[in-house]
Amino acid sequence: MAVLTYIEAIRQAMWEEMKRDEHVFILGEDVGRYGGAFKATQSLYQEFGPDRVIDTPISESAIVGAAIGAALMGMRPVAEMQFADFISCAFDQIVNFAAKSYYRWGAKVPLVIRAPSGGGVHGGPFHSQNPEGWFFHVPGLKVVAPSTPRDAKGLLKAAIRDDNPVIYFEHKLLYRRIKEEVDEGDYIVPLGRADIKREGKDLTVLTYGAMLHASIEAAQKVADEGIDAQVVDLRTLLPLDWEIIQECVKKTNRVLIVHEDTKTGGIGAELAATIADQTFEFLDAPIRRVASLDTPVPYSPPLEEYFLPNPKKIAAAMRDLARY
C-alpha cells in the first residue's frame, strides 16, 4: 500500500483499467502529452500512446458524442471535461443520446465522463460549479462523486466497468490536498453504495465530495460539545443507497444534508423529501440542509467563502439540529 493523493488515485485507476482491458481509452482536451489541465492523465500518453490517450479539439459535444459511438461498438471510453463547467456544452448528447439508449433500444453505452468540479479555489463562476444536480435528474445515468483517494480509485474502476453512462465528478479541491494509503491491487468500490465515514449516534450527516471533509471537521468540532454526529459519504449520487440512508435515519432520528452544489433543487432536496416521506415517524426534527447559496459561484475570496458551506456553518447546523 502506498500513500496516494486523490488525483494520483484517479490516475492509477485509469492506468490499471487500461492495462486490464484494451477497450478502455481516454479522450479529452490536452489529456495527451500534456497530461490534462490538472495532470490527471499524466504519463498515460507516454505509456499507452496516442491511440489510447487522445487529444481532441475543443468540442465537448463531439467528445461525448464520439465517446458514445465508440461505447456502442464495445469500447470503454473515459472522456475528460477540462472543467465540469463545460459539461453544459455536451448536455444534449449526455441526456438524450447516452442516457436513453439502453431504455430505448437495449444498446449499452459504457461511457465514463470525468469532470473536475467544485469551488474553494477562487475559480469564479465558470471554473467552480457543481453540476451534479442536473444529472441526478436524468434517468439512465449514474452519477459518482468520491471524497477520498481509496474511493476515487475504486469508484472510477467500477464506473469504467459499468455498462451504463457514468458521470464521475472529481472535486478539484481534493486533488492534492487529500491523501491516504490506497491498495495497489485491483479492487473496486461498487456503484450505489454509501459509506459511513464516521460513526455517531446523535444525528446523521449525508454528504459527498469535498463536503465530506468539511463535515468530518465539523463533527470533530461539535464532538467536544457532546454532539456525536454520524457522517455518511454517499459516494454514488445516482442511484442513491437508500438502504444505508434509512438505517442511519432510524438510528439517529436527526438528519443534516450537506452539499456544495447550490441549495434549491439540489440533491439534498430529494434526500430530504424521500427520507421525510419514507421514515416520517422516525424523525425527531426537521431535516436540515447546508448548501451553497442560490447564486453563481463568485470569485472574490470573501464572497466565495460566504457562498460555500464550511465546517463552521455545518457545525452550527449540527448544534441547531441536536438541540431541536
Binding site: 481509452f25 491511440d51 489510447r52 487522445i54 481532441t56 479539439p57 468540442s59 459535444s61 463531439a62 467528445i63 461525448v64 458524442g65 464520439a66 465517446a67 458514445i68 459511438g69 465508440a70 461505447a71 456502442l72 461498438m73 464495445g74 469500447m75 471510453p77 444534449d92 448528447q93 438524450n96 443520446f97 436513453k100 439508449s101 439502453y102 431504455y103 430505448r104 433500444w105 437495449g106 444498446a107 449499452k108 434517468p139 439512465g140 449514474k142 466497468r161 459499468d162 455498462d163 451504463n164
Partner: protein
C-alpha cells in the same frame, strides 16, 4: 457501372419495398392507427438504399429519421417496422420509442434520436472504435441539410477530419427543413461546400439516381477504408411529402414538386434497368407482388401482436452490469 444483375435487382427490390412500406404506413396513419408522428422518405429512398448496398455488412450506419431504406436493406423485417409505428411489444424498441427510431447493432444500424445532427459525432466515435479495434470497417452518418446547421455537424466533421477517421457524412439535401427552404437557413447553395472547412472531399450528387449514390459511396468508402479519412457527400433530392404526415406542406410550390416527380428515383432506376434489360415486365410484376405479400404479412403480424403491458415502462432504464 460494375454492378451485377443480382445486385441491381436487389437494390431495385429494396427501393420498391421502401416506397411500398411507407405508402402502407401512410394509410395506417390516415386510419388513425398510429399513435405518434410519421415522417416519410418518399422521393428520396434511393439514397439510403443505394448507400447501404455500397457498404460492407459490418459497416455501421447512424441513420436519421427518414432512412427506412437503410433499415430494410440491412434486413429489418417490415413487421418490425409496422410494430414500431403501432407501439407493439414486438417492435425493435418494445414500444419504448416510435417512428423510425429503430436500431439494431447486429444489423449495424444505430437507433436515431430526434435531436438532429447528434449522430454526426457519434458516427465519428464509431469510426474511431473501428480504427482502435483494427477493423477495416467504416461508419456512415445520414442527416438533412437542415441538420447541417447544428453545432454537432461542425464538431463531428472537425473531429473526424483531424483524426482521419473512416466515416462518411451523407447529407440528404431535400431542399426543406420542415417548412424552411435551404435559402433561408444557409448562405451557401451546396452543403458540400462545407467540406472545405475540414479539408475533406465534398461532393454533390444526384440523390435520385441510385447508381450515382452507390458509386459515390463506394468510392468514398474505399478511401475511408484506406485511411484517407472522411468524405462529405451531398445527395440532392426533394422531400415529396409533408414534413410529417400531418403537414400538408402547402409552402412547397406545386411546380417544384411536379418537376421533381419526373425525377422519381424509382422511375429513373426502372428506366435504367429496362434499358439494360435487367428488368422485364414479368420480373417487375413478380417483385411487386412479392413486396405486396411481404407487406401484408408484416402488417398482419404487427396488428396481431400485443401492446406492451404498462409495467414494461419501468424496466431497462439501466443495463445490468456484466
Amino acid at each position: 457501372m460494375s454492378l451485377d444483375r443480382k445486385k441491381m435487382l436487389d437494390m431495385y427490390y429494396h427501393l420498391r419495398l421502401t416506397r411500398a412500406l411507407e405508402d402502407r404506413v401512410r394509410i395506417l396513419y390516415r386510419q388513425g392507427k398510429i399513435p405518434g408522428g410519421v415522417y416519410l422518405s418518399t422521393g428520396q429512398e434511393a439514397i439510403s438504399v443505394g448507400l447501404t448496398h455500397a457498404l460492407e455488412p459490418e459497416d455501421v450506419i447512424a441513420i436519421s429519421y427518414r432512412d427506412l431504406g437503410a433499415l430494410l436493406t440491412r434486413g429489418m423485417a417490415p413487421a418490425s417496422v409496422f410494430a414500431q409505428y403501432l407501439g407493439k411489444i414486438t417492435s425493435p424498441t418494445r414500444g419504448k420509442d416510435g417512428s423510425l427510431h429503430i436500431g439494431d447493432l447486429k444489423l449495424g444500424i444505430i437507433c436515431p434520436v430526434s435531436i438532429l445532427a447528434d449522430n454526426i459525432p457519434v458516427a465519428a466515435g464509431i469510426a474511431l472504435a473501428m480504427k482502435l479495434m483494427g477493423k477495416k470497417n467504416i461508419s456512415v452518418a445520414l442527416f438533412g441539410e437542415g441538420a447541417s446547421n447544428r453545432g454537432d455537424f461542425h464538431e463531428g466533421l472537425n473531429l473526424a477530419s483531424v483524426k482521419k477517421l473512416p466515416v462518411l457524412y451523407v447529407c440528404i439535401n431535400n431542399q426543406f427543413a420542415y417548412s424552411t427552404p435551404l435559402s433561408t437557413t444557409m448562405a451557401i447553395k451546396d452543403v458540400a461546400t462545407r467540406a472545405a472547412g475540414y479539408n475533406i472531399p465534398g461532393q454533390v450528387l444526384d440523390g435520385n439516381d441510385i447508381f450515382a449514390v452507390h458509386s459515390a459511396v463506394a468510392e468514398a468508402a474505399k478511401r475511408a477504408r484506406q485511411g484517407e479519412g472522411p468524405t462529405l457527400l451531398e445527395c440532392k433530392t426533394m422531400r415529396m411529402t409533408g414534413h410529417s404526415e400531418h403537414d400538408n406542406a402547402n409552402y412547397i410550390p406545386k411546380n417544384l414538386l411536379e418537376q421533381w416527380k419526373k425525377k422519381d428515383p424509382i422511375l429513373i432506376m426502372e428506366k435504367h434497368l429496362t434499358e439494360a434489360k435487367v428488368l422485364t415486365k414479368r420480373l417487375k410484376e413478380e417483385i411487386t407482388s412479392r413486396i405486396a405479400k411481404g407487406i401484408e404479412e408484416g402488417i398482419k403480424a404487427a396488428e396481431e401482436a400485443p401492446l406492451p403491458k404498462g409495467e414494461e415502462a419501468e424496466k431497462d432504464v439501466y443495463a445490468p452490469s456484466s
